[in-house]
């Protein structure tokens, strides 16, 4: 697996914090965003649009599976794969 740059991680964290309206993402990379009610289908869209505009990574909506994209850490891994 390729190395994920720290700057990339920080960027994803800040996008996530905006979308979830919560500033504990960085300190909690294994928090289950959907189970905790931090993300829902609506904020997922803001997230996907932000990934596209700020990172240039397009994630197909139907690929954003709540089991594989459950935590900030998992989201970073998935995004790195698509990068």
């Amino acid at each position: 697996m390729k190395e994920v740059k720290d700057s990339f991680k920080q960027k994803v964290y800040s996008i996530l914090e905006d979308a979830c309206d919560c500033n504990e993402i960085k300190s909690n990379p294994n928090i289950r965003l959907f189970d905790e009610g931090l993300l829902d289908s609506f904020s997922t869209i803001s997230l996907i649009v932000a990934f596209e505009q700020e990172l240039g990574i397009s994630v197909p909506i139907s690929d954003f599976n709540r089991d594989e994209w459950a935590t900030p850490a998992m989201i970073i891994t998935q995004l790195a794969k698509l990068q």
């Binding site: 309206d21 829902d40 609506f42 997922t44 869209i45 803001s46 596209e52 197909p60 139907s62 690929d63």
Partner: protein, 389 residues
């Protein structure tokens, strides 16, 4: 020809027990005979529809139609990714279902229908969506047929997804894995009997059948509402358990359809627990796509407003899908309104913290309120209130 409607008769259960015995035996040895499985699938599809030859013909024509559309769109998508072709394919894919639903008004169109048409249409559209997203590059015809006519779920779901289904279908379980599948499969089938044929049956016979409920008084309708909601759940969750159980015996982990819906703490939670494969389908392919397109193209600046419109569209289509009848349309609008109001409430609460979600008493109260909101929705759905409009 005698009828073999899925899970509706002991004849049906007897038949699948007989046909599945070799599959289970081989499964326990960690093996699978694909030709035998496919033969069973063809025979079962034939028997399920054989009592109504019209339906069998409609099914075959429907499958050919969908297969052609998918071929066509796949070939187009390889060349270009134009939105027009995508919408055209989805439109043509829905067309048969649309005409059948219209037959509530125009009876001649009902000739196109067959048991389960709305569920198979969902599977086909989902394939088109995945092709559009570039997640599916090829679909061998045999895999398409296995997926679309998967007999345990053909009549009423749960609605599986092609890529998930294929993963299971391609994998021959080891003996240990199959032991587990068999155990869970049988467990689900027995729960199905308990739900559908014991609890559902008793509620239907003694509660809904009680002469006291016939009057159009508030107390009768109120009691009917609880009874109908219970019946709807146990009957459909029971069916789903059968469908899931039999899928497991065939090595396919068909997704769950219900997760204790009457314990939902709000309407959003409810739609994550009730008829899940349907509501997730709508969430992924109607609501989220609509909101995504609208946000990306900046149709409106207010994202919350976009979301509200998305919810209205989502639940209205779901209403129409149940049938072109007033009670279904009102049911759809009712849920859209409940969902939109709840979202507003949640945003207010995030700012002002007046509803303490973590308090067990507040949680209990939320469950009771939500329970009544959904039961009232089912009362509309049941048509019991039709005398009002």
């Amino acid at each position: 020809m005698i009828s073999f409607i899925p899970y509706a008769s002991f004849r049906f259960f007897g038949l699948i027990a007989l046909l599945l015995a070799p599959i289970i035996t081989l499964g326990l040895l960690g093996r699978r005979c694909q030709i035998y499985n496919d033969s069973v699938a063809i025979l079962m599809t034939f028997l399920i529809f054989a009592a109504e030859p019209n339906q069998l013909i409609s099914l075959i024509v429907f499958i050919l139609w969908q297969a052609l559309l998918i071929r066509f769109y796949l070939a187009q998508r390889r060349k270009t990714n134009k939105i027009l072709e995508f919408y055209l394919s989805v439109g043509l894919s829905i067309l048969p279902l649309f005409l059948v639903k219209l037959s509530a008004d125009l009876p001649t169109l009902s000739i196109l229908g067959f048991l389960g048409i709305s569920y198979v249409t969902f599977k086909s559209i989902q394939i088109l969506m995945d092709i559009r997203d570039g997640l599916l590059k090829e679909i061998p015809m045999i895999n398409f047929l296995r997926f679309i006519t998967f007999f345990p779920t053909i009549s009423s779901g749960p609605i599986d997804r092609y890529r998930r289904f294929k993963k299971d279908a391609d994998h021959v379980s080891t003996s240990a894995e199959y032991h587990r599948l068999l155990e869970m499969g049988l467990h689900n089938v027995f729960l199905g009997f308990l739900y559908k044929y014991i609890i559902g049956y008793l509620v239907h016979k003694y509660w809904l059948g009680s002469p006291f409920l016939d009057a159009n008084s508030i107390s009768s309708i109120w009691l009917y509402m609880y009874g109908y909601s219970m019946y709807l759940f146990f009957d459909f969750a029971g069916y789903s358990k059968f469908a899931i159980g039999v899928s497991y015996l065939l090595g396919i982990r068909t997704p769950e359809n219900f997760n204790k819906p009457f314990l939902s703490r709000n309407i959003k939670d409810f739609w994550n627990r009730w008829h899940m494969t349907l509501s997730f389908w709508f969430r992924d392919y109607v609501y989220m796509r609509f909101v995504y397109t609208a946000v990306k193209n900046k149709w409106l600046c207010n994202r919350y407003f976009i979301s509200d419109i998305g919810l209205a569209v989502n639940f209205l289509i779901m209403g129409f899908w149940h049938g072109f009848l007033p009670q279904y349309i009102i049911y759809g609008l009712y849920h859209a309104a409940a969902f939109i109001l709840f979202n507003k409430f949640e945003r207010l609460n995030k700012a002002h913290h007046f509803w303490m979600k973590d308090n067990p008493w507040v949680h209990g109260l939320s469950v009771i309120i939500t329970f009544h909101v959904i039961c009232f929705g089912f009362l509309i759905f049941s048509g019991r209130l039709n005398f009002l409009w």
